[in-house]
């Protein structure tokens, strides 16, 4: 019951926020939603499945460029263009996942790390299409509110989807792959198919939100689209909150976004270094994140609530 009240209040706050505050707060919250989407997406492939992706900004960049090009050449409105960005990200992720997920551990990490840099090089080099380093310009978005609500809806959808995932057979199968892939396979889990499914799912969020980010900035160039900073911040958020948890990425995104505002305003030149130090500290001191710590200390109920309820239910009487 308390959960519903808290979520209801939060939701109402999100809805009325653009009408009661100045555009700075709206812009900040919009950024927060963007990172919530990215963090939950990364959480699916790296948190649940255990495949460390250092290249998810590839999908963010692909989404941003698709979105911008579709708007410029086909004249579609931005919400439709964002869907296009998501679709292309999926279209790229499916064959890519089939190839890359044959690699394990460090090899997958190396492969994805290189991938983002290759896409960036291509965006620079293919200047007929992308204008190279000059970048592409979109008409400026004067009213941020529609963008704000769309991103809020996607962020909410990601949270709900992760809750469903966490309480589903699919989610448990992904966790089994993370813990022991050979063991999972021996138990009859179709690891390849599920890994590719998780990979493709994790590409949708960056694909769609990359385009929305391009509309927000009304500008896109290769260093913005494929920024390592985006990747690093996302990873820091998920890691801080707790990889493979439902609320971890949300908590991480909120805490780090606030920290970002403070640090960026005062020490812009050391911001990224600080994020790096933060990741190091979490890895060394609290590798399972703050949510797992809270659950272990008993400050929060343990996860997978729906599954627990299902397990605790009295078994149905056997049919005669």
């Amino acid at each position: 019951m308390r959960v519903w009240i808290v979520s209801g209040v939060l939701l109402a706050a999100v809805v009325v926020l653009p009408f009661v505050t100045e555009s700075y707060v709206v812009s900040f919250t919009l950024h927060l939603f963007l990172f919530v989407v990215l963090a939950y997406s990364w959480n699916i492939i790296s948190g649940y499945t255990g495949y460390t992706s250092f290249g998810h900004t590839s999908f963010f960049g692909i989404g941003a460029y698709t979105h911008t090009l579709v708007m410029l050449h086909l004249g579609l409105p931005w919400p439709l263009a964002a869907v296009g960005g998501g679709l292309l990200a999926v279209a790229v992720a499916l064959p890519l996942g089939l190839v890359m997920l044959r690699l394990r551990g460090s090899f997958f990490a190396i492969g994805m790390f290189g991938l983002a840099r290759v896409f960036e090089a291509v965006a620079f080099g293919w200047s007929d299409l992308t204008q190279g380093g000059t970048g592409l310009y979109l008409p400026p978005a004067y009213d941020l509110r529609p963008l704000y609500y769309v991103l809020a809806a996607i962020a909410l959808a990601m949270v709900v989807a992760t809750y469903r995932l966490d309480n589903s057979r699919f989610g448990l199968q992904l966790l089994a792959i993370r813990e022991d892939e050979d063991g999972a396979e021996a138990l009859g889990i179709k690891t390849t198919r599920l890994k590719v499914k998780a990979f493709v799912l994790s590409a949708i969020g960056p694909g769609v939100s990359g385009g929305l980010y391009a509309t927000y900035l009304s500008f896109i160039d290769p260093p913005t689209a494929f920024a390592p900073a985006t990747e690093l911040t996302t990873i820091a958020m998920v890691l801080f909150g707790g990889m493979g948890t439902v609320l971890g990425p949300l908590v991480g995104a909120v805490v780090l976004s606030l920290l970002y505002e403070v640090l960026w305003a005062r020490f812009p030149q050391i911001y990224l270094g600080m994020v790096g130090v933060g990741i190091m500290l979490v890895v060394l001191l609290m590798p399972r994140g703050i949510m797992t710590l809270a659950m272990r200390r008993g400050w929060l109920p343990h996860g997978r609530i729906a599954l627990r309820r299902l397990a605790a239910r009295r078994p149905a009487p056997a049919e005669a």
Binding site: V99, A109, I110, F113, R117, G125, G276, M280, P287
Partner: protein
Amino acid sequence: MRTVAELIVNGVLLGGIYALMACGLNLIFGVMRVINFAHGEFLAFGALLSVSLVIGYGVPFLLALVLVAAALGAFGYLMQAMLVERVVEGPPIMSLLLTYSASTVFVNGGLLIWGGGYQGMPGVFSGSIPLAGMNLSQARLVAFAIALALTGLVWLFLSRSMLGKAIRAVSEQAEIATVSGIAAARIRYLTFGLGGMMAGAAGVLLAPMFASDPQMGARFVIKAFTVIVVGGMGSYFGAFVGAIMIGVVEVVGGYLLGQTFATALLYMLMIAFLLLKPSGLLGVRVTR
């Protein structure tokens, strides 16, 4: 015809420096199964430190090479002892995240120290030498010779000395090495130091050839990854062969396709090897 020969020779010369860097990376991977994402930053620090010493303080180039390599060796030793050692036994995702974030910290530390601009080392080995009808840059020839000598020295150290044999023992069978009385943790510190030293020296050798900046590490670390995948993960000699190959592919590919698509070509080569021959040309005992 002369251009082809010149391209290939230049590729081999570049490959020699990649070999120095990649052999260090592969040594680290071989001993502790950790991919050092911060390896490029050792190279960048090596290049920038040497520029500061040679241009700023007038230190002779060769002395700067020794000093910088020693400094980065110590840096690598400390990085392993203080950071990586704590996660070396854990799941690979933790060491990956640790070295990846260390890389960011180093890049931004470098930006604070040296600023974002490019730093050249003018006047050091700036001439060119005519050889068999080709004009070869003096900086590249000297760098290649030194890189080759250093890679060879480390190889001799690994194959002949007791300490080198201990490193190889931990790389092959860590548990049995421990049972035989080898202090595996100390070997890991030493290995990381050795790898850092090699990357740092490679950076010093690159400084007279290219302008250096604190963000150069990412460009080179991908090449080093490609080299060790092609040559074989964990194999010292494999990394050497792979490096020469990658140097040639990069220079010839860059000439034929342009720099952008040469980068993509190298990447595709790496993916192709990962998928079709994950043990690389000379890799041993590799699990994907």
